[in-house]
Each structure stands twice: as structure tokens, then as C-alpha cells.
């Protein structure tokens, strides 16, 4: 009989934490963690102590006091007796507005420029190179200020539209006014409005808008169903029934009927007092910021698009051509779907950059969250720490939301590995 003796069980000694490679890595991590927490704990205590010494204990109570200041561009109802919190919310919506407009425009311009930069036309390709290099290599703040200066100096003031022989006139049958205070365009109005729904006692949502969205969404869904039925028909019989007249009618007729029912008409801007009255007022601050951010970010997006397209091997194009596809079909069916996989991840960070760059809004007096919460509210209440922390959380949340949404999209278009 043989006895197999186990090696004697090693008893754990404290020194093993350092000398035994099995434990050492963990030991050092724990030490680092403790040091890290101590450092931040000390900073936190020090801050709290110093603030207490100054008599400025952190408190968010100021958010519920009347703001007292006015904001020019408000997407929700706001007056100077509303709270600082609501003023911050107005600023947040303004940030989201310019970020959304900017992302859309930047993508459109960026894709266009990126594709054109690969054009075989020498002049077009060089022009796009010049555009990309000038916009990419100058800080965006300069572009914002330049855009604003051009808008202010180049366009006429509203007073130039006045008098018997005005030096400026409105465009497109007197419906659009370009002034150095902004662009006035016709606004949609309803002579038989449905009223508003109040949400949480804080915001009003117009029922007309909801109705339009519901009707449009419904008609598009029906049109898609018709298209899908046609697909099934085509698969079965090989012949595709003609659907576009029905589809167009399904989309257009209900919305026209709804608009007619609501008494839809356009409110044209007209001179009244110091300014134009009526119409939608796109302020110069918004236009300058939007324009500069889009053009700047588009230069980066163009390079990303170009890189994405060039990452697809030439063999793909040749193979598709060999199958008899025309060049625009090659681009849309073969190259772009594959290029998107390369394009989207860096595109996400460009969207994030654009959103964060919109905090330069104060340079042109655009009242975004930096201008309201971290600008005027900070100044009037003297709550630097609280407002800046809130602002950081807001930007963090916006950025995480954007990258979350874009990641979902990325997962849908990325190569499915089997």
C-alpha cells in the first residue's frame, strides 16, 4: 500500500501578502485604493471645512428662489419670477436645441464633404481639403465669434426696413426678414387650436403638436404596412403591385385634413415698434453658434467618413461592378453599409464634442445651461460649487445619453459575427 502524502498545508503568514505572488497584486491594489480614498476624503473634508469657515455651507435651496432675470430664447414658458431651477431648465433645453441642430447639420455637411474629398474632380477634392484644414485647425471659439460678427455687421438692423423708401426689404413675398438681430421666418398658427396639456404642473404641451405627431406616425406606419404587403406579393408572384399612389395618399391626406381642421395658417413677421413682430425669431446667437459648431465639427466628420470609405478594400467595388451594379448602387449597397461600421464609433465622440463645445455659447450671448445656471444664477446667488457641480452632472448625463443612443445604433449596424 502506498501512501500519498499531501504536501503539508502551508499556514498563511502576513508576510505572504508581500512576498507571495498570489497575494501581492491584490495587496497593492488595496493599498492604492486606500490611498486614493484617503486623498479624496481629505480633499472633501478640507473643502467642506473651508466652505464652512467662509460661512458658505453647500445648499441647493437657491434653486427654488425666484430667478429675477429674463432669458430671451425660451422653449418653455418662463418669466423672471420663475425659479432658478426653471431658468436652468430653459438653459438646458437651449443647449439640447443647439446640440441637436448642430449634430444633424454637421453630419449632413460632413458626409457630403467626406465623399466629395474623394472625388475624381481635382478642383472639388482640393476645395474640400481646404475647407477641412481651415476649419479643423482654428479653435471653434474663433469661428463662433467670427460668425456672430459677420451676422451683426453684414445684415441690416430692423430700422433699415422702415420708412417710405427702406434700404432693405424682406425676402420671398415678404415672409422672411434677415436682420442683424436674427432671422424672422413665418410661424405655423392654428385658428382653431385644441389647447394645451399640463404635465406635472410645470410644462405645457400643445395638443395640436401631439395630434400632428400621432397622425403622421400613424400614416407612415400604414404606408409601411402597404409596402410590406407588396413585398410579400412580390416574393410570391414575382410581380410588384404599384403602391406609391396609395402610399402617398395615405401619408398626405390625413395630415392635410388635420391641418385644415385645425385652421393652419402661417404667421408672417411684420415690423412693429422697435422690432419685427410675429413669425419665429431665430436669434443671431443661435444661428452663429449653430453654424460655427456645425461647420467646425463637420470638418472632423468629413475626415471620419473619408477614412471609413477608404477602409473598404477596392476589391469590394470591383466585385460589385463585376456583378453589374452601377456606381451609385455600389456606394449605397456595398461600400457605405460596411463603411458605417468604421464611421460610427468615432462619430459618437464628435457628437459629444459638439455638445460640450456648445458651452462656448456665452461668447455670443446664447443662453444655454452654462449661461443660465452656471452664469447668471451663479452670479446672482454666489453658489459656485453647487451650480458648477449641477452643470457638470447635466453635461455628463447628456453625453452618456448620446453615447448610449449611438451605441444602440452601432450595435444594429455592426458586422454580425456568426
Amino acid at each position: 500500500m502506498t501512501t500519498i502524502s499531501d504536501p503539508p498545508a502551508e499556514s498563511f503568514k502576513l508576510s505572504m501578502l508581500f512576498y507571495d505572488t498570489r497575494y501581492r497584486a491584490i495587496t497593492f491594489q488595496i493599498i492604492a485604493l486606500i490611498a486614493f480614498l484617503t486623498l479624496f476624503g481629505w480633499l472633501y473634508m478640507n473643502t467642506a471645512h473651508n466652505l464652512h469657515e467662509l460661512g458658505k455651507d453647500p445648499s441647493f435651496g437657491f434653486l427654488f428662489q425666484p430667478a429675477g432675470y429674463d432669458i430671451n430664447q425660451t422653449l418653455i414658458e418662463y418669466n423672471n419670477q420663475d425659479t432658478h431651477l426653471r431658468a436652468a431648465f430653459v438653459g438646458l433645453l437651449n443647449t439640447l436645441l443647439v446640440a441637436a441642430l448642430g449634430c444633424i447639420t454637421a453630419t449632413v455637411i460632413g458626409v457630403l464633404v467626406g465623399v466629395l474629398r474623394l472625388s475624381k474632380n481635382w478642383l472639388v477634392a482640393r476645395l474640400m481639403t481646404v475647407y477641412v484644414e481651415t476649419f479643423r485647425n482654428v479653435p471653434v471659439l474663433m469661428w463662433i465669434i467670427l460668425a456672430m460678427a459677420i451676422l451683426i455687421e453684414a445684415l441690416p438692423p430692423p430700422s433699415a426696413f422702415r420708412g417710405n423708401d427702406p434700404s432693405s426689404s424682406m425676402l420671398l413675398f415678404d415672409s422672411i426678414a434677415l436682420t442683424n438681430r436674427g432671422v424672422y421666418i413665418p410661424e405655423p398658427l392654428f385658428s382653431r387650436p385644441l389647447g394645451n396639456i399640463n404635465v406635472f404642473g410645470a410644462f405645457d404641451i400643445s395638443i395640436e403638436l401631439l395630434a400632428i405627431i400621432v397622425v403622421l406616425g400613424g400614416s407612415i406606419w400604414v404606408a409601411k404596412r402597404i409596402g410590406r404587403r407588396a413585398d410579400a406579393e412580390q416574393n410570391k408572384t414575382g410581380l410588384r403591385p404599384r403602391t406609391w399612389p396609395v402610399q402617398t395618399a395615405v401619408i398626405i391626406l390625413p395630415i392635410v385634413a388635420l391641418l385644415a381642421g385645425l385652421g393652419f395658417h402661417l404667421g408672417l413677421p411684420h415690423l412693429k415698434g422697435f422690432n419685427f413682430d410675429g413669425g419665429t425669431h431665430l436669434r443671431n446667437s443661435l444661428i452663429a453658434l449653430w453654424l460655427a459648431l456645425s461647420l467646425y465639427t463637420a470638418a472632423f466628420i468629413a475626415e471620419i467618413v473619408r477614412a471609413g470609405i477608404m477602409a473598404i478594400s477596392k476589391g469590394q467595388t470591383e466585385a460589385a461592378a463585376a456583378l453589374g451594379l452601377r456606381s451609385n448602387r455600389i456606394m449605397s449597397l456595398v461600400i457605405l453599409p460596411q463603411a458605417l461600421r468604421v464611421i460610427i464609433p468615432p462619430l459618437i465622440s464628435q457628437y459629444l464634442n459638439l455638445t460640450k463645445n456648445s458651452s462656448l455659447a456665452i461668447a455670443v450671448g446664447y443662453m444655454d445651461i452654462t449661461g443660465t445656471l452656471m452664469g447668471i444664477t451663479l452670479n446672482q446667488t454666489g453658489r459656485e460649487l453647487e451650480t458648477v457641480l449641477l452643470g457638470m452632472i447635466v453635461y455628463l448625463a447628456i453625453s452618456l445619453l448620446i453615447s448610449g443612443a449611438m451605441n444602440i445604433y452601432n450595435n444594429r449596424v455592426k458586422l454580425v459575427e456568426r
Binding site: 473651508n50 467662509l54 432675470y69 429674463d70 451683426i152 442683424n180 438681430r181 454666489g382
Partner: protein, 339 residues
């Protein structure tokens, strides 16, 4: 991750707060220089001249304090601040005092934890419009576009004024006076509003100052004065009494021209003797040298001289003394007794 961001912000605040709270007078003496916050540029009040030297009414206040404390009116480091950055700069200890046409209000005094040491200019908010607009009263401004410096009391006064008069307006927020000028001159706003003194100063720099009028309405009280951090009473006293010395000097007829003579030997007026240190030692009570007031007055002159030189009727800005005349001439400038 969120936690790191949160604590990162605290770090900045911790470093900033750590600098405040010490005895400012000792700091200034040890440093040999006064850090004084001024505006980024407002003709007559604080602006760098052609040779880069800071000039103006607020700047003179800084120089007087530097002269009183350090004996040298040039020992000042001027820190340009905007309406938005000024309080943070003072609270964090980046500057020792702020002389930037800042309005004394209760919330700034009590909530922001500052001490206003006095009023060096009694002002009020006004409106400037182009003459061509044909407006003669602020009550006619319904619907106007108004350029306004953001982060100031004027912003709140403006909101109050238009609300009280049931009028509407479109605010165009602007960061600095220079940007406001650009927008106003281009006609991007109908009205520019700020303190009446600031309007006069701004108008003086226009190519055609005569084409613009300042409307008669003054919609607020704007007592402007230097301020320091709350809790350092000794330093507050130094700034307060330097200012008082300048006002008292005008009342007692002490000017930059005769101050050296008067200080060379005790004269007939005991108050002058006490102030200039030829009798007793008031300077020691403030923690300053005996000739502190002599230096302060010699730096630029008494209150009246500073006013006339920088913003008075013979300058392009052309402000009348008005409320800022001495109390003996029907104004509000009044210095407590030196004894």
C-alpha cells in the same frame, strides 16, 4: 466615475478656499504688492492707457490703498475681472480688494460674504439710445431689444423696471462692455443699459458721441464702492479709511500739491495734523505707518482731484459731481472724523 468628477470639482474649490481667510494686510506687506481687481476696460474708471499703464477712477482707489499700505502707488498688480469672475476672484483670494464699479447690495454683503468699505461713486442705472430712434423716455421702450452685461445687478433692475411698467423687452446678454458697444453701434440692440456713469464713459469712446442720448430715467440706486472679503476687519478698515482720507482731504483742502508741505510740520488744524501723522499716530491703529494718509493723498490727489482728473466735467466722459459732491456742497460724500 461620477464620484471622481464630483470630487474633482471639490478639489478646485478646496484649493481656492484654502487661500482665503488669512490676514490680508500682512500678506500684502509680505508680498510687497497689492492685488487689485478692476474691470476689463471702462474708460474713466479703469483702462490701460497707450503705454499699458492702468488709469482711471477705480484704479486710483487701488493706487491710494497701495500707497497707504506699502508707500508706493505703483506697487499694484491689476487683475482685470468681468462681471462674472469678479466675486470668485475676490472670494478665492486671487485679489486683495475689488475696485470695479460694484454695487453694494444686501445679498452681496450678507450672502456672498463680502464687506463693502464705502461708496466711492453714487450711481444709478440708465439707458442710452441712438438719437435717431426719437425716444425721449424709458417708458417708451416697450418691445425694444436691450443689450445688457450679464452677471450684474443691472440685469435684475432691468427685469424689475419692465415688469413694473408692464412692458416687454428682448434682453441680449453680453459678457463685456466692448462687445456691448459693438452690438449697440451696429444696431443689433436699440438700447444699452448699465450704470449712468458707465454709459457716459462708453459714449465718450464713440466716434460720434452726439448721436446718442442718455435717457433721463435713472431706474435704480447703484452705490458703487470697493469691497473686500468678510471676516478680515483689519484689512477692511485699511481700505475704508484710505477712502475716507481722500474724502476728508478734499473737505480739509489737502491736495496732492500741498500735502507734503502740510505733513512736514504740525499746522493750525488739529484734524489735518492727526490725519497726516504730525500729531498722534492714527496709522499705528490701522497697522500702517505714520504717513499712510500722506502717501495715499500724494498718490493721485484727494477725492475731488481724482474725480475731476478721471471722470469730471472737463474729461471726455463729462460727469457732473451731482450726488458725489461733498456733503458741504449738497452731495453725499462724507467722511467720519479722524480722531
Amino acid at each position: 466615475m461620477k464620484k471622481t468628477v464630483f470630487l474633482g470639482a471639490l478639489t478646485v474649490a478646496a484649493l481656492a478656499a484654502g487661500a482665503a481667510g488669512a490676514a490680508t494686510l500682512d500678506d500684502v506687506k509680505a508680498r510687497g504688492k497689492l492685488n487689485c481687481g478692476v474691470s476689463t476696460g471702462l474708460t474713466g474708471f479703469s483702462f490701460p492707457d497707450a503705454s499699458g499703464e492702468w488709469q482711471g477712477f477705480d484704479v486710483a482707489m487701488c493706487r491710494a490703498v497701495a500707497a497707504a499700505v506699502l508707500g508706493d502707488p505703483k506697487a499694484v498688480e491689476f487683475v482685470p475681472t468681468t462681471g462674472k469672475t469678479r466675486f470668485t476672484a475676490l472670494a478665492s483670494g486671487e485679489i486683495d480688494m475689488l475696485a470695479r464699479n460694484t454695487t453694494w447690495t444686501l445679498s452681496r454683503d450678507a450672502d456672498l460674504k463680502f464687506t463693502f468699505t464705502g461708496v466711492n461713486y453714487y450711481d444709478g442705472q440708465g439707458f442710452m439710445v441712438p438719437k435717431a430712434l426719437g425716444v425721449t423716455s424709458a417708458k417708451e421702450l416697450d418691445g425694444a431689444t436691450v443689450c445688457i452685461q450679464t452677471g450684474t445687478t443691472t440685469e435684475l433692475n432691468l427685469a424689475d423696471f419692465f415688469r413694473a411698467n408692464n412692458m416687454e423687452y428682448e434682453p441680449v446678454p453680453i459678457e463685456t462692455n466692448a462687445e456691448a458697444q459693438q452690438q449697440f453701434l451696429a444696431g443689433a440692440c436699440d438700447v444699452y443699459t448699465t450704470d449712468a456713469s458707465g454709459l457716459a464713459a462708453t459714449r465718450a469712446t464713440f466716434e460720434n458721441p452726439k448721436d446718442y442720448v442718455i435717457l433721463p430715467e435713472i431706474i435704480s440706486k447703484e452705490p458703487l464702492g470697493p469691497l473686500v472679503r468678510q471676516g478680515d476687519d483689519q484689512w477692511a478698515d485699511v481700505v475704508r479709511w484710505t477712502e475716507n482720507a481722500l474724502v476728508a482731504a478734499e473737505e480739509l483742502g489737502i491736495t496732492s500739491a500741498n500735502v507734503k508741505d502740510l505733513a512736514s510740520a504740525p499746522g493750525d488744524n488739529p484734524e489735518i495734523n492727526r490725519m497726516l501723522g504730525t500729531e498722534g499716530d492714527l496709522g499705528a491703529m490701522l497697522g500702517l505707518s505714520k504717513d499712510w494718509a500722506v502717501n495715499a493723498i500724494a498718490a493721485g490727489g484727494n477725492y475731488g482731484e481724482l474725480f475731476e482728473k478721471n471722470i469730471g466735467e472737463n474729461t471726455p466722459i463729462g460727469l457732473a459731481r451731482g450726488l458725489n459732491a461733498l456733503w458741504t456742497n449738497g452731495g453725499l460724500q462724507y467722511a467720519p472724523p479722524f480722531r
